[in-house]
Each structure stands twice: as C-alpha cells, then as structure tokens.
Subunit: 333 residues, 2 copies
Amino acid sequence: VDSASGTTAEAPDEGRGAAHVDTRTRDLAARVRAGDRRALARALSIVERADASSQALISLLFPHTGRAHLIGVTGVGGVGKSSLIARLVVEWRRRGKRVGIVAVDPTSAATGGALLGDRVRMEELFADPGVFVRSMATRGAGGGLARATIDATRVFDAAGYDVVVVETIGVGQDQLDVGQVAETIVVVEAPNLGDDVQALKAGLREIADLYAVNKADAGSADRTVATLRAMLALEGERDWNPPIVKTSAATGEGITELADAAETHLAWLGRERRAARRRERARAELRRLLEERLLRDLLARVGDPDLTTAATAVLAGTDPYRCVSDLLRRYHG
Amino acid sequence: VDSASGTTAEAPDEGRGAAHVDTRTRDLAARVRAGDRRALARALSIVERADASSQALISLLFPHTGRAHLIGVTGVGGVGKSSLIARLVVEWRRRGKRVGIVAVDPTSAATGGALLGDRVRMEELFADPGVFVRSMATRGAGGGLARATIDATRVFDAAGYDVVVVETIGVGQDQLDVGQVAETIVVVEAPNLGDDVQALKAGLREIADLYAVNKADAGSADRTVATLRAMLALEGERDWNPPIVKTSAATGEGITELADAAETHLAWLGRERRAARRRERARAELRRLLEERLLRDLLARVGDPDLTTAATAVLAGTDPYRCVSDLLRRYHG
C-alpha cells in the first residue's frame, strides 16, 4: 500500500520482517507508540507468543527503543520482591516516571495462586495510567520465555515508559538470564536466621549492581547487611561497588535511597558503558536467535523422525556426539 | 595401532569420535572402567573442559553407561543439601552401593569458600573407595556446565558406580536443568518462618519426584510438610505421588526412609518409563548439541567480526530478527 515510502522500499523478503508487515500490525505498533493501553496489552500478548507475528511487531517497534531504564529485580522466592517493587513504583511515580513491569512467573498455574494474588493487588494498587504490570508465564523449557521477556521490555520502551522493571525469581528451570534484559540489576535479599546469604549462594553476586536487604523491619537485617558487606569487602574495590540498601516494603524504609541508587547506577553507566553493555546483550541475543533458526532449518530438512531415530540410537549405545555428527552429515548433503 | 580391532575398523572420519581416538584416551577409558580412582579423577577433569577431547572419551565410555541410578538433589541455597547427601551416602554404603557425586557449584571462587568447605569435609568423611565426590565449577553462561555435568555422570556410570548424585542449587545463572541429568529428583526444602515453600516458588514442583523437608530438628518442619502436602493435594492423584520425607542431617532422621523412597521411585519407573525418559533426555541433548554445532559452523564461516557488525547494527536500530536473517542469508549463499 505505502510501498513508495522509505521504510518499505526494500524488496519484499521473507526474512526482512518490517518490510511487508500487514496493516493491522502497523496500526498496532502506532497505537502502542501513541500510549494506547489497550494496544499495549495486545502487543504484550503478541510478544508472549514469541512467534513470527511477534517478530513483525518488534521489527516495527525496535527503532524506537533504547530510552527506558531497564531494571532487573531478582532474588530467591519469599524475599518480598513484588511488594518492594510496588513501593518503588510509588516513588518513581512521585518522580514523574512512567513504569512498566514484566513479572516473570516461574510457577505453574497450580501453585501460582499466591504470586498472582500479589500481582493482582499490585495491579489494583496501580489503576494509575502511568503504570502497567504484566505477568509472563513460563512455558516449557527453553528460549520462549527469555524471548518474550526481552521483547516485552521493548514494547514498554517503545511505548515511552521511563522505567521498565523485570521481576524474576532468577531460579531454576526458567532459563531467563536477567543480565540479558536489564542494565541495572537489583538483588533482593531477606534477613534470615543463619549466616547464609541466599543471593550469594544462588550465584546472584556476579550480576548484582545494587543489593536491597528487604524486610528491614524483621530484626536480623543488620546482620545480613554486615555479612553481605564483609563478603563484598573480600573482593576489594571495583569500578562500581554495589551499594547495600536496607529496605522495608512494610514501612517504606530505604525506598527513596534504593530509587536514588538505581539512578546513580544509571548515571555511572553513562553513554559509553550503556552502549557497550547493549552491544554485549545484542551479541548474545544474536547467537541465541541464530541457534534457534539454524536448528529449525535443520529439523525442517532432516525431519523430526530422524531426531527420534537418533534418540533411539543413543538408547542403543551410540554416543550423542556421534549421532549429531551423523545428522549434520545428512543435512549438509 | 590396533586398527585391526573391531571398534576401529571404520573409516577414519572427523565426526566419528571413537573411531580414531588416541591410545592415551583409550587407556584412560579402560582404566576408568576398571575402577582406577586416579583415572576417574582425570576423566572428570577432561569432561569438565567440555571440548573435543571430552567427546572422544565419552564416545568410548558411553556404550558402558545406563546402569547407574541417576539422582538429582536440588533446592534453593541454605536448605542443607550437602549434609543431607553426606548422610545418604552413609546409608547407601551400608546397602553396598558405590556412590559418585557431582556437585554443581554456581558460586564463583570468591564466595565459593563456604560451599567448598562443606565439600572438603564431605571428601574427608569419605576416604572410602566406594565414594567419589567431584565439584564442577560454573563457567560463563551457557551449555558448558550442563554438558560437563551430564558427561561426568556418564563417567561415573561407566566406572560402575551404582548411584550417581547430581547436587545442584537449581538456581539462576547456571542454566543446568537437573531434569536433563537425573531420573529421580529429590527436592530439598527447609522449614522457614512463613507459609512460603521455597521450592514451590522456585518452580521445582514440576520436577520433584521426592520431597525432603530437611532440618526436621528445627521445629517448624511439620508446618512446612503440611503446607507442601496441602499444595500437592490440590493437584489430585497422579501416576506417581511424590512422597514427602522429613529428614535431619543432624540426627539422621528420615535418611533410611528417603533412601527407600528413591529406590521405590526407581522401581516404579521400571524398564519402560526409564527408557522413555532416557529417550526424552536424548532428544533434548541432541537438539542442544545440534544448536551448538550449527552455530559453531556458522561462526566459522560468517566469522565473529560479522557478529560484531550485526551487533552494531542492532545498536543503530536494526532489530535482531532482521540481523539474523541477514547473517543466515550470507551463510547459506
């Protein structure tokens, strides 16, 4: 229709996404950018599918991303991430920022009740048009959730949200590496009885830009802060020394400080470090996409039955490395 | 040298692993199978590298695997997995079983002290030749650790160990899906103050074959058991209803019961279900190996600089899906 315009002047090409996207998708993208909440909800549902239609949509929105501050909030279950985020949102709103939240829920429908309950309360709390909360369900193993989450942050970003929060339990089977979607990572820790710092045991230390020791009202928070501080001190000075903020979703303690710390981190990142990190994330994403596409192309050719045959060979004692070499030989000719 | 033997009669072929493995690797594999502990240690170091030499070794050992009971022990940090395993090992030894342990350590060198300390104690405890403990370090993102862990269980299996335990925190950045390496999965939970069941929040419910509510001596264990039982009851009857065992590494409570439950689960799996699960694992592994190999082949051709160029294009506003299509087009022709 508008093939004379600059963006669609390219030759139609299966792989080139945006070049021949249908009108409905173009309309949707325009409405998302204009701040239409219903369009936003629909766009998020589309990216959740992580299929060809989500790619077309992202192709249109992608050039308009890169403005939002992408914040990951992670920590093991039970540390109070959702209520901490709810408090932060109030603070961000006070600062005039629009906030989008992608809550990655690794639990299934059956056990998700409690978590979803939190989120429903969160959504009630924020009938505010400057806030939008979206839960992403995990689906099976693999890349679908990671892809959906990354693209959801892009939808928010293109829709003009200033802060996009990805809340993830950072645990287990969900395969979402929060470092792939966030530029400032807040690791939330709750005080506990022993000397254990769950986040450290969970391997979250390497990715933490800020620590929030939550449930500060619970008593033993100082001890947890001290343990954390001692462990960080062992590592010596770094370019960025992650601040440790004592927070309480119950009393509101430390929320302003935490929001400040996130802004300080963003300022510290600056233009150059942000670009460098974005480049690293882009490289990682391209590698993953290439893997997915290459495997899909191969399976379209050697066929799923061949994979079953190969699996049977493995059961019969042929090692998987050999089976893969055999499959690749067949594929390449 | 021994090219007249049956196994080496095939044409030399880059992809066919075992066919032209050097004599040292053959010697090593033979010594592993004969139960030589030093060879076992060396073989585990080789598979930890997850490179071509580990593939050659696994090609030799693979046909001799499939006998061990592969048990995953998982749960969030601080629930006492290591000490529970130590107790289980004593029980298994009492039952005449040889036990190999692969401890997957998601923490880095700096914070790994505490965990490694546990393991060192564990290794001291078991100067017993029927027990072998090996820690695997995480390295970067991605498949290396999963590959190393799977292959480590194969080394133990081929070496004649009856039980192979994979201890994993099942958390965060390590990308190891314990379902990919174990046939019986024990989810360890510790009593805590609230109604939270960490394992459920961590998305471990879907994979649990058995629950161990550890630190039974700590008091509130009954409440955790009740919560867990109530949540499982919501799901109704299943083919296999995961038993919940109250355990204490301190007093030894429930250890015999837990070892029994693991045996019951293995018996329930039986020949057919075990084969079906093994086939599923094989399919998943083949897919992952194919992805890795396909990407490696592509990068060998389009080159890493092209990936950097593509990442730069992403930074400039070209969406990743289009960049990938461009790279694939260049690759294929």
